[in-house]
């Protein structure tokens, strides 16, 4: 665990999380949530949890983003908040 890398990735995680819930376009929110999941994957690879890291990379950053994008295309992209 390298603490400099840890702090950089943790700040990216918090920024991506806040951006994913504040952006008004739902497609943009889905893509930002994918970036959030990928940052989480990097964080776990850096913390030594390699099995959790590649499960998150395939399931969290891959399948979740596909599900979100599919749901947004079947509904509407606009959001009031």
């Amino acid at each position: 665990m390298i603490w400099q890398l840890d702090i950089i990735i943790l700040s990216f995680v918090v920024i991506c999380g806040i951006a994913a819930i504040t952006v008004r376009d739902l497609l943009g929110a889905a893509i930002l949530f994918g970036a959030y999941s990928f940052m989480m994957c990097l964080l776990w690879a850096e913390m030594g949890a390699v099995d959790v890291a590649f499960t998150e990379a395939s399931v969290g950053a891959g399948v979740s983003t596909v599900l979100f994008v599919a749901a947004v295309f079947r509904t509407s992209r606009r959001s009031k908040d």
């Binding site: 819930i21 959030y36 989480m40 509904t75 009031k80």
Partner: protein, 131 residues
Amino acid sequence: MNEIASFIIAKYNYWIYIVLMMIGLYAMIVKNNLVKKIIGMNIFQTAIILFYVSIGTKRGATIPIIYHGHGDGSHAVHATDYINPLPHVLMLTAIVVSVATLGVALAIALKVYRRYNTLEEDEIFTQIRRK
């Protein structure tokens, strides 16, 4: 004062986990859009996974794969040289459960959209009250 500052700084992973958890809770309670609520639920789940993975880390330890695992003969394994893999295994299950709950939640949101033609919570409530 110095002890308090070092206590806060030394456990920064846990503080970030609390911050992420509060971001998810805020999105679940305050946001009006159903997809935003689902994103908040996922952020909450990953915050809890971050807490559990932070429990297992050790200073100066390597990843939990035994170094001479396939060699001949037997070696003594020092448990302090390896990161604790038990929280990782628990959280592997939690990730799979979280993607399952995400699929169910998005399916319910799609059903709501087909019935009320909107994803905003207040518009759905006004349509329910009108009936």
